[in-house]
């Protein structure tokens, strides 16, 4: 019941932030101002210190204030329109859509400038947001479903942008710095341009204040009072998307301000829509300005290369993690039950069919392909002997990684009772990637064993972090997912910052993230296969827990299941599976999300059969992706992980969308 504090809350908070901002501002500006004041009036027209202050530092500060305010406002608008305390441009895919659209424009239409860029950003942001709504509208935009759909779309857009930068690596560093939201300025023009756009949108926002308050009562109640609730919500969302897209077009993606500002405003006691909108804008502006000043102060001359947007994500996600357990339980509605699915009478047969298909794909991939001479065909005899050493590690690695990811996805989806949960979403993949990046950048290890060890440590650390945050709620599913979301964003931002340094290893890193299986060593292929061979049977042994835990804590505990220990065991198993698979296939394959959903949609529900079928389906998907990655652009090798996600994600969207109406 945090909303019942004194109305002075947000004001006092804003004053405190203002004081801190002023202090930091004085620290940043003082040297330049003192130098200017002490210096004699400029004799020449050219005075670098004065010019930097007037045309770089000051516009940058104004830009920070403006962007922060617009993002805060956009977040508050979205939260009010959707009745969802977790909505924000960052969490519902708006940012990622704008980022991808602008990356495309930057590569294929670099001359685009001014309003053209805004339109591109608006198109991308609108498309991504629309996709997210399409995915989550069946669950009434329930907080967690919306955020999960947003995360999936964001990750997907990120994978596409990653592929672009991989192909066009000349632009890599610039794109990454921009993509992460750099506020550095060279003139007043962008600030004036953005202010114009904000001024155009503001009157429309004011028109919405009162009707939005009524929409908060619920769509039915609002309609009873004569408010066209559905149209109004759509309009408010469109406004928020426009605000965020304009900011993206001007400075790139600045994550989390749009989430943190409204959350803080609400927690500080701004309860009514009007107050939330105003205070979110004020706090958003101050937060971004303060962050930017601190970046300038601490990074010194490198401030222009340290994207503030990445810093807000690094700072913002811990704030989100800290806030999560404190968001009143009532504010985050529990997950609605999934649409009823048809349960199959003989689920074991389905699992067997998947296993046979995976085996067939494996055999086909082993025999079929481009031979030593370059021709495509079935290899036999001596030709087979020649290609086998090249093919088997790749295929064993793909199959093993696919099985592990399918298993991990199934475990997580069953544990959280949410079909959108997957290793990618829960942050375990991000943890593995993060540790791999760290080990390459800081320690310089590159061997298969040491990288796998790093990935293992990283994914387990991410898992523990997520669990620690979710522990207060007794590992409530939605809390696990939200904590994973925050961890994901945090680690992603760190990886972006590291990559933005322009280090040549960043390109190597991108290749790795995309999931090239061509370089899989026999050692790591065997490791992955053994891991799958051990973890899948272990999961089969524990299938009763998997059947009981989705019933929730009280019934499972009442039946004598040691609930916390069972949850921890299964989570650790999924962490281990992801850690083993990630070095081979990268974090972006989405197999962990796809395989269990395909299996579920086919009606294989019984825990044991679902375990087998998910693992087999994961292996099948990656084997098919591997064949495609090798055959499509021969002699060029495409990254298997990315091929799997580019082919699989639309398929998955279609699957989730084509549910029959309840």
């Amino acid at each position: 019941m945090s909303a019942l504090r004194q109305p002075s809350g947000p004001g006092a908070l804003a004053l405190g932030l203002l004081a801190a901002t002023l202090a930091a501002g004085v620290l940043v500006l003082l040297p330049a101002v003192r130098e200017l004041a002490g210096a004699p009036p400029p004799a020449a027209a050219f005075d670098p210190g004065r010019m930097v202050l007037l045309y770089s530092t000051l516009p940058r500060l104004v830009m920070a204030l403006l962007c922060g305010a617009m993002l805060g406002l956009a977040g508050a608008l979205l939260q009010a329109a959707l009745g969802n305390p977790l909505a924000s441009p960052t969490t519902i895919g708006t940012d990622a859509g704008a980022r991808l659209a602008l990356a495309l424009a930057g590569l294929f239409a670099p001359a685009l400038y001014g309003w053209g860029r805004d339109l591109v950003a608006l198109g991308g942001a609108g498309a991504a947001t629309g996709l997210v709504f399409l995915l989550s509208h069946r669950q009434g935009f329930a907080a967690v479903s919306l955020v999960l759909a947003g995360l999936v779309v964001s990750l997907y857009a990120g994978a596409l942008a990653g592929l672009l930068t991989l192909v066009e690596d000349r632009y890599l560093a610039g794109l990454l710095i921009w993509g992460a939201g750099s506020l550095s300025q060279q003139s007043w023009d962008p600030a004036i341009g953005l202010a114009t756009r904000a001024a155009l949108l503001l009157p429309l926002v004011f028109l919405l204040v009162r009707p939005l308050q009524l929409v908060e009562l619920g769509e039915d109640a609002a309609r009873g009072l004569g408010v066209p609730a559905a149209r109004l919500r759509l309009f408010a969302i469109a406004l928020a998307v426009a605000l965020a897209a304009f900011v993206s077009a001007a400075v790139g993606v600045i994550g989390f301000v749009g989430l943190v500002a409204p959350t803080i405003a609400r927690a500080a006691g701004a309860a009514r829509v009007k107050h939330r909108l105003v205070w979110s804008a004020v706090l958003g502006g101050l937060i971004l300005l303060l962050t930017d000043l601190l970046v300038t102060l601490l990074a010194g001359p490198f401030a222009d290369f340290l994207p503030t947007g990445a810093v807000t994500a690094v700072l913002g996600s811990p704030i989100l993690l800290w806030l999560l357990p404190r968001v009143s339980r009532r504010e985050a509605p529990p997950l609605k039950p999934a649409d009823p699915e048809r349960a199959r009478r003989r689920p074991g047969r389905g699992a067997l069919a998947f296993a046979l298909l995976a085996l067939a794909a494996f055999a086909a991939a082993l025999l079929l392909g481009h031979g030593p001479g370059g021709g495509f065909g079935v290899a036999t005899g001596a030709a087979l002997d020649a290609v086998l050493p090249f093919r088997w590690p790749r295929l064993v690695g793909s199959a093993g990684a696919g099985a592990l990811l399918g298993l991990a996805g199934l475990l997580l989806q069953r544990l959280t009772a949410n079909p959108m949960a997957s290793p990618e979403v829960v942050g375990v993949s991000a943890g593995a990637t993060f540790a791999m990046v760290l080990s390459v950048f800081l320690i310089g290890v590159a061997g298969a064993a040491s990288v796998t060890a790093a990935a293992l440590l990283g994914s387990l650390a991410a898992l523990l972090l997520v669990l620690a945050v979710a522990r207060r709620s007794g590992f409530a599913p939605e809390r696990v997912l939200l904590a994973g979301l925050a961890v994901n964003a945090l680690l992603d931002a760190v990886v972006v910052v590291l990559s933005a340094t322009g280090d040549p290893r960043a390109i190597q890193l991108l290749g790795w993230l995309a999931g090239f299986t061509a370089n899989v060593s026999p050692g790591s292929a065997v490791l992955v296969a053994v891991g799958a061979g051990l973890l899948v049977p272990l999961a089969l042994l524990l299938q009763r827990w998997l059947a009981l835990l989705p019933l929730g804590f009280p019934p499972a505990a009442a039946l004598g299941v040691p609930v916390p220990a069972a949850r921890a065991t299964l989570l650790a198993m999924s962490g281990l599976a992801v850690a083993l698979a990630t070095p081979v296939i990268g974090p972006l394959s989405f197999v962990g999300l796809m395989a269990p959903n395909i299996v579920r949609r086919l009606g294989i529900q019984a825990a044991g059969a679902a375990i087998l079928a998910s693992a087999a389906c994961g292996a099948l998907v990656l084997l098919v992706a591997d064949i495609a990655a090798n055959a499509l652009a021969y002699p060029l090798q495409l990254p298997t992980g990315l091929v799997a996600s580019l082919v699989g994600a639309p398929f998955l969207l279609w699957l989730l969308q084509s549910r029959k109406a309840a």
Partner: protein, 271 residues
């Protein structure tokens, strides 16, 4: 015509299933249970009454070992709660929470079979006995005819029956039910409570059930306890409790008690 609950006078009270002594519990500085003590008679249906926030659900959670108490003691079959191994306890005591998971993707017979977990554990074989018990539980509760349907497609009353069937499959001698009829219409409420009482009568099970409706409680329970503000304010037979003055002190609202014009059972309503 349902037999009246007057048969349950405390004359022949057997050894209690639960013996609760001086139970205290606070959550976040707020006292929920404040020195509650009573005996839960074995082989009878005991209704737990009280206004919202009086601590009835919490009391049931403590009995079901879902939540530890801060002070006091609870004995189940003469042994303190903490002394029971969790699967042994689950073989004796079944608990039905107020909020039930949607059990997505499970069929009725699969959900009922999950009740056998305390007997076969995580790794044991699902034996012929387990299958028999599950089948019997489906038969007793009358869920046989939708055994192959999905739980999340059932109506509220049907779903409640299926969950009770799971507790029966658990073969527990004692059932703790937290507001099992709160979202059901009157006919289904009576149907579910009829089932609950039949389970107690025919197999000698002990039942403790949290109820909101004093008249439902009076009709189906043998014994009643009432809480108010975390304290026990009444403990006795239906005749002892359904009295205007006592109900007034429980619900803090003037109540009238009159005999039912047809059955003669005493009924209470707010004035």
């Amino acid at each position: 015509m349902p037999s009246l609950a007057v048969a349950a006078s405390p004359r022949t009270r057997p050894a209690p299933a639960f013996a609760v002594r001086d139970l205290r519990l606070a959550i976040g500085g707020r006292t929920i249970l404040d020195g509650v003590g009573f005996d839960l008679p074995a082989g009878q249906v005991t209704g737990i009454l009280g206004p919202n926030g009086s601590g009835k659900s919490t009391l049931l959670k403590v009995l079901a070992r879902q939540m530890p108490a801060d002070g006091g003691s609870v004995l189940f079959e003469g042994r303190i709660l903490e002394g029971w191994r969790s699967r042994d306890f689950a073989r004796r005591v079944g608990y039905l929470p107020q909020q039930l998971a949607p059990a997505a993707g499970l069929t009725v017979s699969e959900l009922v079979a999950l009740g056998r977990y305390p007997w076969h554990g995580a790794l044991g074989r699902f034996s012929a006995t387990d299958a028999e018990k599950a089948e019997a539980a489906r038969r007793i509760t009358g869920v046989e005819r939708f055994a192959d349907r999905l739980v999340d497609q059932l109506s509220g009353g049907e779903r409640q029956r299926v969950w009770i069937a799971m507790l029966i499959a658990q073969d527990a001698a004692c059932l703790l039910l937290d507001e099992p009829i709160s979202a059901l219409d009157v006919a289904v409420q009576i149907e579910v409570l009829d089932l609950v009482r039949r389970l107690a009568r025919e197999d000698g099970r002990t039942v403790a059930v949290v109820l909101h409706d004093i008249n439902m409680a009076a009709r189906f329970c043998d014994h009643l306890v009432a809480l108010r503000g975390g304290r026990l304010v009444a403990d006795g037979s239906v005749d002892d409790l359904v009295r205007a003055d006592l109900l007034e002190s429980i619900y803090a609202h003037p109540m009238t008690v009159i005999p039912h014009p047809e059955t003669g059972q005493r009924i209470a309503f707010p004035r």
